[in-house]
């Protein structure tokens, strides 16, 4: 069953917490991965791969650069999940 927007946001918060050590409550829709959440370009790849596994979605490298904020990632996953 496809995850809801709230479930994806919560899942991403846990992933960002695991990879960058940011408290889950700070991972909000408008936050920028690089500017606000200490997720640099390489950590972003780790976030993406973890999100792919968790939400059963494929996020190609070419699309990763368009995911600037948590909200961008949530929308992408919502749209592309099976």
């Amino acid at each position: 069953m496809a995850a809801t927007e709230a479930e994806i946001t919560e899942g991403l918060a846990e992933i960002v917490n695991e990879i960058a050590g940011i408290p889950t409550e700070d991972v909000k829709s408008e936050k920028s991965f690089t500017d606000d959440l200490d997720v640099d370009s390489l950590s972003m790849v780790e976030v993406v791969v973890a999100a792919e596994e968790r939400f059963d979605v494929k996020i190609p490298d070419d699309d990763v650069k368009n995911l600037k904020t948590v909200g961008d990632a949530v929308s992408y996953i919502l749209k592309h999940q099976d």
């Binding site: 370009s41 390489l42 790849v45 780790e46 791969v49 490298d61």
Partner: protein
Amino acid sequence: MTAKIKPSQGSPYARILGVGGYRPTRVVGNDEILKHIDSSDEWIRSRSGIATRHWAGPEETVAMMSVEASGKAIAAAGIDPAQIDAVIVSTVSHFKQTPAIATEIADRVGAGKPAAFDISAGCAGFGYGLTLAKGLIVEGSAEYALVIGVERLSDLTDLEDRATAFLFGDGAGAVVVGPAQEPAIGPTVWGSEGDKAEAIKQTESWEIYRGRTDVSDVRYPAITQEGQAVFRWAVFEMAKVAQEALDRAGVRADDLDVFIPHQANMRIIDSMVKTLGLPEHVTVARDVATTGNTSAASIPLAMERLLATGQAKSGDTALVIGFGAGLAYAATVVTLP
């Protein structure tokens, strides 16, 4: 008539008998790199783990560095250089393709008249060379083989590219491979993904200089890469390859003493260790911090340093994996010399 041909007779198994390394005398710190790019020491260290690298001077040619590293490997192996039947050199930064630089190196190390040739497999080159050497020894075409990974990547570095200027280093690593009565080099898991060949490449072909007298508008060829794509492939796809090499060798992660991945970037190494779930007791090569990424030379250089500093010892079981341009890769389990 179809004549009966005698089969060749090789050794049942092969092993690495000795390793040697050469690092250029000039140490280049991040401060020097920062003269050409808008970045910071903190940024470089956090993205790559690299603090210093060695860059070769005019005298430290591909051949010179190879001869130095090989001399140490041959001495460590305890053989006479004349016993070497094959010399395999892996490099992408020897700019004169003919003749193969392996022939000059073979002569200078005193190997006599061995088979000698160069291979090009980028950062997977050491594993490719080791696999060829093992094959020659087991098949019977060589009793002892010298495998060299050598690079002068500073010659292929764009000093103004803030994504790669700090990454590369120069050096040579060599091993002597010889006969063994027990398996000491496992099955190689290797391959290439040509559909991703653009992810790591030389920016321009040397052809760009053909027929030109004015080259002032030509940017000298350099190595460039798609950072995120390479990181994803290196960490997550290569972890699977590394695991397969362990499985095919019949070695459990718990039985492993040492992990020597290609020294591409500390972030790749750290993430790979995490993805593989290697036990705490496994010593991980982190030579990239002071050597930078030396492509084909990185694994033997890291191996030599681990042994020289006592972090690893002869007889230890090591997982080695090289990966890079091609995208080519090779992983195997070896007993350290």
